[in-house]
Amino acid sequence: MNFGEGLTPEAFAFGLFTILTLGGALGVVTSLNLVRAAIWLMLSLFGIAGYFVLLSAPFLASVQVLVYIGAIGILFSFAVMLTRGMTNLKERFNDQWWLAGLAALTAFVLLMVGVIVPAFGNSGAPVSDQVTTTVDLGVALVSGNQYVLPFEVASLLLTAAMIGAIVIAREDD
């Protein structure tokens, strides 16, 4: 843990994304209006995309923006609007909110104290400055001895999910 070298651009970006991500996440779970929650969600997910850029995974960052913020965010907005008529606008949380908070906090503390600090507290720089490129990811996803099978299964899953979503959400005749 060394903050003594001044504020590098990278550290600045990290801080910014942290504010976006965690702030957005808090917004998601606390805002009463679900349209706002959806906006907060997009903001949070954008912060994650920023992390991906910092972590030299530009492809995933762009996919994050396109799929999460673009597609899923919009999907949430539509779902909120379609079901808004009956939305209870008075109460955010259910009766167990304090228990849930306790549990979430315990989980966080447990993760920090039990796992992150003891196992990774002293690890500093990455093992290498060189990283793979998007080309490598593409090759890995379609090459026969790596991920082509999961890749195809994933596409099948998406198709099945699409059909399933249509069937479930369709008006019954």
Partner: protein, 102 residues
């Protein structure tokens, strides 16, 4: 560079916040949003570990991509279910869906 543990801390925090949303929100759509936050926390972990520990092995990125795919499918089906439930029970409150009550 920013040390690894900071990413992990952010991810843990994000995970906990998402979990809180899942456990405490009344609205089913908000619950689903909480799940999305948790999935993103996992993705952040995957990418951070990949970058810091095994940058020449594509499994980190590949897994993150698959998590994304699964998340997309899950949201599509989840929202479809919410809409179906809404149509049948005129409610998207999680507490109203309690047919498993003993």
């Amino acid at each position: 560079m920013v040390p690894l543990w900071m990413y992990l801390t952010v991810a843990a925090a994000l995970f906990s916040i998402g979990m809180y949303g899942v456990l405490a929100r009344r609205n089913a759509v908000a619950v689903l949003m909480g799940i999305e936050l948790m999935l993103n926390a996992v993705n952040l972990n995957l990418i951070a570990f990949w970058r810091y520990l095994t940058p020449f092995n594509m499994s980190g990125q590949a897994f993150a991509a698959f998590v994304l795919v699964v998340a997309a499918a899950e949201v599509a089906v989840g929202l479809a279910i919410i809409i179906a439930v809404y149509r049948n029970r005129q409610s998207v409150e999680v507490e109203d869906v309690d047919m498993l009550k003993g």
